[in-house]
């Protein structure tokens, strides 16, 4: 078994109103940053878990997203393996 860190990014679905992103967009413009086309706000969830191989870790992450971490009505998600450590008590 290896330890994996998954980075799960949950984002509002494209085209969906994102009031928080819009407010930040306005704030950035009022700070004097021109030319910003859009701002969208989501969340990042770091998951540390053990699995036989990277694909199995990602598959479990996907299952967790479908069950709990994302609401498919309003959100999309993607998962990246950001690190891996082999063996028991493995190094970072």
């Amino acid at each position: 078994m290896s330890r994996y860190r998954l980075e799960v990014r949950v984002k509002p679905r494209p085209g969906l109103l994102d009031p928080e992103g819009k407010a930040i967009h306005h704030a950035l413009e009022s700070l004097g940053y021109p030319g910003i086309e859009s701002v969208r706000v989501g969340k990042v969830i770091d998951l540390d878990l053990t699995a036989g191989h990277a694909e199995a870790a990602v598959e479990r992450g996907r299952e967790m997203c479908r069950k709990l971490l994302a609401n498919p009505v309003t959100e999309d998600f993607d998962i990246t393996v950001v690190s891996q450590a082999n063996g028991e008590g493995g190094r970072k």
């Binding site: 509002p12 969906l16 009031p19 928080e20 819009k22 407010a23 709990l68 971490l69 609401n71 009505v73």
Partner: protein, 233 residues
């Protein structure tokens, strides 16, 4: 007729719901803690407003996995009447007992004030005491009350007469200023397909007495009592 009022960690309208139910002859409310895995012999269930499990992740996302939601789901699927108010509505959507989801209010503000809603259908266990088209004045108190569903779901809700309440102006119009949170189709309350599960964002339990500004919410609980009496009779 026993009505379970669920209490999640973070529920804060459970006492208000209890008191509202207590005021209606025939209804006997009782609190049910969210870790209870057996509902017992109840005739109806109310999911009150608040911030179940702190609204962490998304409003209602974690409450959905509270042990009590299993028997609630079974009760609802067997046809038992269930009312979800505000956070309770969010929990019902996350649980899948009602379609759709909630986004942050389009104003980005927590809105806490009376609104006007129109009774769109009286063909429900929760609105038979009203008349169709009646305008009610009932408070809202939410930061994420912006109801969203895809266009197919919205068409289904409209086509099947499942939109129960719609936000309006005081005279019943849908013009500017009528929608306090950006909800699709001005939706303030909906039913499931079998019409026994109601979700609504406004708080009828806070509009039970004229002394508090409005008694327009009474009809929801009076309709429920009438429905349960009919079922029992």
């Amino acid at each position: 007729m026993r009505v379970a009022v669920l209490t999640f960690p973070g529920s804060n309208c459970d006492e208000d719901c209890f008191r509202a139910l207590e005021q209606v002859p025939g209804l006997e409310p009782e609190f049910v803690w969210h870790r209870t895995a057996d509902l017992g012999a109840v005739d109806a269930v109310v999911l009150p407003g608040g911030f179940a499990h702190g609204d962490y992740l998304r409003a209602g996302a974690i409450a959905r996995f509270s042990p009590v939601m299993r028997p609630v789901q079974a009760f609802a699927e067997a046809g038992g009447p269930v009312i979800g108010i505000c956070n309770g509505f969010q929990v019902l959507c996350e649980t899948g007992l009602l379609p759709g989801a909630f986004l942050r209010n389009d104003s980005l503000r927590f809105r806490s004030h009376p609104v006007h809603i129109r009774v769109e259908t009286v063909n429900t266990p929760f609105t038979s005491a009203y008349r169709k088209g009646q305008i009610l004045r009932i408070p809202i108190a939410h930061g994420e009350g912006n109801y969203f569903a895809d266009s197919e779901t919205l068409a289904q809700l409209e086509g099947e007469d499942r939109v129960v309440f719609r936000y309006t102006t005081p005279d019943g119009g849908l013009g500017p200023g009528s929608n306090p949170n950006g909800s699709c189709h001005n939706i303030a309350g909906i039913l499931n397909a079998s019409r026994n599960v109601l979700g609504l964002m406004p708080h009828p339990e806070r509009a039970m007495e004229d002394a508090l500004g409005s008694s327009d919410g009474r009809g929801v609980f009076e309709s429920l009592a009438r429905h349960l009496a009919g079922v029992a009779g």
